[in-house]
Amino acid sequence: MARKSIAVVFAGSGGSGAMSAGAVFLRASATAGYYGMMTQLFGAQVRGGESAALVQISTEPIETQPDHYDLFVALDWEKVEQFAAEIPLDETSAIIADPEAGAVPAGIAKSKGRMVSLKMTDPHVSRLERALHGKRVNMFAVGAVCALIGIDDQHVRSAIENIFEGKAADLIAANMNGAGAGAAAVPGLTLNLLLDPAVPAARWLISGNQALALGALRAGVRFVGCYPITPATDLVEWLAPHLQKLGGRLVLGEDELASINLTLGASYAGTPAMTVTSGPGFSLMVETLGLAVAAEIPMVLIDVMRAGPSTGIASKTEQSDVNLAIYGAHGDAPRVVLAPVSVADCINTAEYAVYVAESLQLPVIVLSDQSIGQATTVIDPGNERPKPLPRRTNGVVAGKAFKRYAIGPDPVTPMPAPGTAGYEWVAEGLTHSEVGLPASGAGIHVAQINKRAKKLQKFDPGKYWGESWGRGEVAVLAFGSTIGPAREAARRLAVGGNPIRVIALRVLSPLPITAIARALDGVRRIIVVEQNHSAQLYHHLIGQKAIPPSAESVARPGPLPYRPSEIASYIV
């Protein structure tokens, strides 16, 4: 009997080619018509540490890490054991290794997975060729795995061409030969890993970080101020050349203080602008977040969350910046906080974030995380996009002197770009009068606080508040990367006759209270799932009276991802 999905690990020491093995395998499967997702595990070393590519392939979309891996392919056994906790294996798993690689480490062997011995050297390769191209067995492994699950050789070959584009022709040929030898070795194995046939369609291969960047580009972002920080760096590295070709600019600041101020300056000057960071950088940016609120200047801040506090774990995931995003800043500083509901949704959520920022003239924070950001995923690109909401630059009342911060029925007041004659105004971070001059009177202070608060009171995200699936009386409320495992848990429980509702929040602040109440209609048990120790989202929901005190909280820190079984076993 063929299976619907398979979860495969390619693991080895740094330089073993585990990541390119994963990338080729994912792309070959995707062009063959399967859905897929790849995440990566690295040791802390910059070079030469252990690494593992975790790849899932399925006939259906994938939004979660699996409960366990079906196949573990050891390219070598050096240091691989350090990942044991993050690569769950059990007695149903198969472990492929070359007998020449040595003994199986205890941490892997204790899974009781079935050992499959495979000599991963191509018998046709001469010693000279091996000396030229190294002893890597990664493409041999990919060829073997693809043959085992039934992916045609042509897809493997085209994936190798794509992944190694620009490399020397003899290296590409050597990789093709390696993959071919791997496929040829498969008939000798007694291992049935065949997948159901794929249904090809026009799909995209994209990471969450790239998807956020693309959404921002779609919305017109043409300036990015940033500072390198894991796990957000690959987002800006992808953006830099694309922004350049689009006539925009990415500026590397001297620190995050500079990055967010560069961004705010560009936005003030009339260009939709964004900064991209992770927790430690976000902490530094909070100062200017308040300035964006007070001076009423649009900007988008993307936080690809990692484990905190302080430097935490740079390369691993957590959802622990909720409080910082919603409440971080001194004074009353209204802002909008959004979170993507999936890798695919990163595109629309980022595009929407820019529109909200531009139309309300305030900072919008997008809370992504390492788990979503660095997951390369096969998605069905949607046709539907958020409706543009432009910045208000005109609309000055005729015959009246221009007041940038005028108090009136509409809290969003025109902000002409510099260079526009007759409307010269000063962006002001001090409490200011309607014309924007510093003032310290009580009446002015309260009036401007109210003006800015009113922008959020009038903000209606409509259908962008979030998503809801299922009609059960038990509801799981989640955001970001916990939505995927929650949905998979719900699917499994539904099969067992236990319908579960999953409610995914896109707008974390201001909370869409009415939409949440509607989504909770008929629910008798609410479970809030999040990946931080202090139940930050849960307390936010309780504090805003969006959920009753009887709601339950499932909150634990990262970096281990939530797995569907963990959520399912809590529910039942």
Partner: protein, 286 residues
């Protein structure tokens, strides 16, 4: 942007604006006798001579007495947070090279909390002018030693003196890559106007340190008017010679001390592709 008037050239002989046209009319918070009035006057006179219209100019500042200045002028302005004016101005200029961007502030704002931005703004060499009104004291918080304060200056927060070697902003600017380094005196608004105009017109990052007395907390600075003198030397290109000059100087030499020939950061590129082209990179194809 909707204007039909002819854009005046940078070296036009006639003057369409008077200094008054660049004043917002708002009353400054500064104490009577504050040097910053002279800098405000110098800026208004320089802009009147420059010939660019108020809406084509953006004044950017941080926090402190002198950082209040944008509100007193009729141009566009950005009064941000303490120490961060330079990155804001960089974001403005890089996206809108058509605007004249001038950054103003004090010694605490620019050399202490914003010190890192100062170094990197010099390195970046974006075409703008940075005017620091240096009075060697934190005035708005009522008299604490700043990075340029003399080591033995007595204050409540540092009894007997802070005991630290003063920061040398001109040496830092020269070493970090500023393309124009000058020193002026607030008591000479016309001389300042000339330095401001010169700095605006010089390509790249122009740094103008202005000795601007704080008569309230540093009344002894009233004596500065007797001590300032034109610099005998002005270095062109040679950064080593310029560094030697500003390190050896007693701090009272006025004028342009250094002019470099670094090319400023280039203008924004023209779009070569569309977002749809970007999207195609993700399509699995075939």
């Amino acid at each position: 942007m909707g204007d039909t008037a002819t854009k005046p050239g940078p070296d036009q002989a006639y003057c369409v604006y008077s200094a008054k046209d660049f004043s917002s009319g708002a009353h400054p918070v500064w104490c009577p006798g504050c040097g910053d009035y002279g800098v405000l006057a110098g800026l208004e006179r320089a802009l009147a001579k420059l010939g660019r219209r108020p809406h084509e100019v953006v004044l950017v500042s941080g926090i402190g007495c002198s950082s209040r200045l944008p509100g007193y002028m009729s141009t566009y302005g950005f009064h941000g947070v303490h120490g961060r004016a330079l990155p804001v101005a960089t974001g403005i200029k890089l996206t809108r090279p058509d605007l004249e961007v001038i950054v103003v502030g004090g010694d605490g704002d620019g050399y202490s909390i914003g010190g890192n931005h100062f170094i990197h703004a010099c390195r970046r060499n974006v075409d703008m002018l940075y005017v620091v009104m240096d009075n060697r004291v934190y005035g708005m918080t009522k008299g604490q030693p700043s990075p340029t304060t003399e080591p033995d200056w007595d204050s409540d927060i540092a009894p007997g003196g802070i005991g630290l070697r003063p920061f040398n902003p001109l040496a830092i600017a020269v070493a970090s890559g500023a393309n124009y380094v000058a020193r002026g005196f607030a008591g000479d608004p016309d001389g300042l106007a000339n330095l401001i105009l010169d700095g605006i017109r010089w390509p790249g990052f122009a740094f103008l340190e202005v000795m601007s007395p704080c008569v309230t907390f540093r009344p002894e600075q009233r004596e500065w008017k007797k001590m300032v003198r034109p610099s005998a030397i002005s270095v062109v290109q040679d950064r080593a010679a310029a560094t030697a000059l500003v390190l050896a100087d007693d701090g009272f030499s006025m004028g342009v001390l250094y002019r470099g020939d670094r090319a400023s950061i280039g203008p924004a590129l023209k779009p070569e592709i569309t977002v749809a082209d970007v999207e195609r990179e993700f399509a699995l194809g075939g």
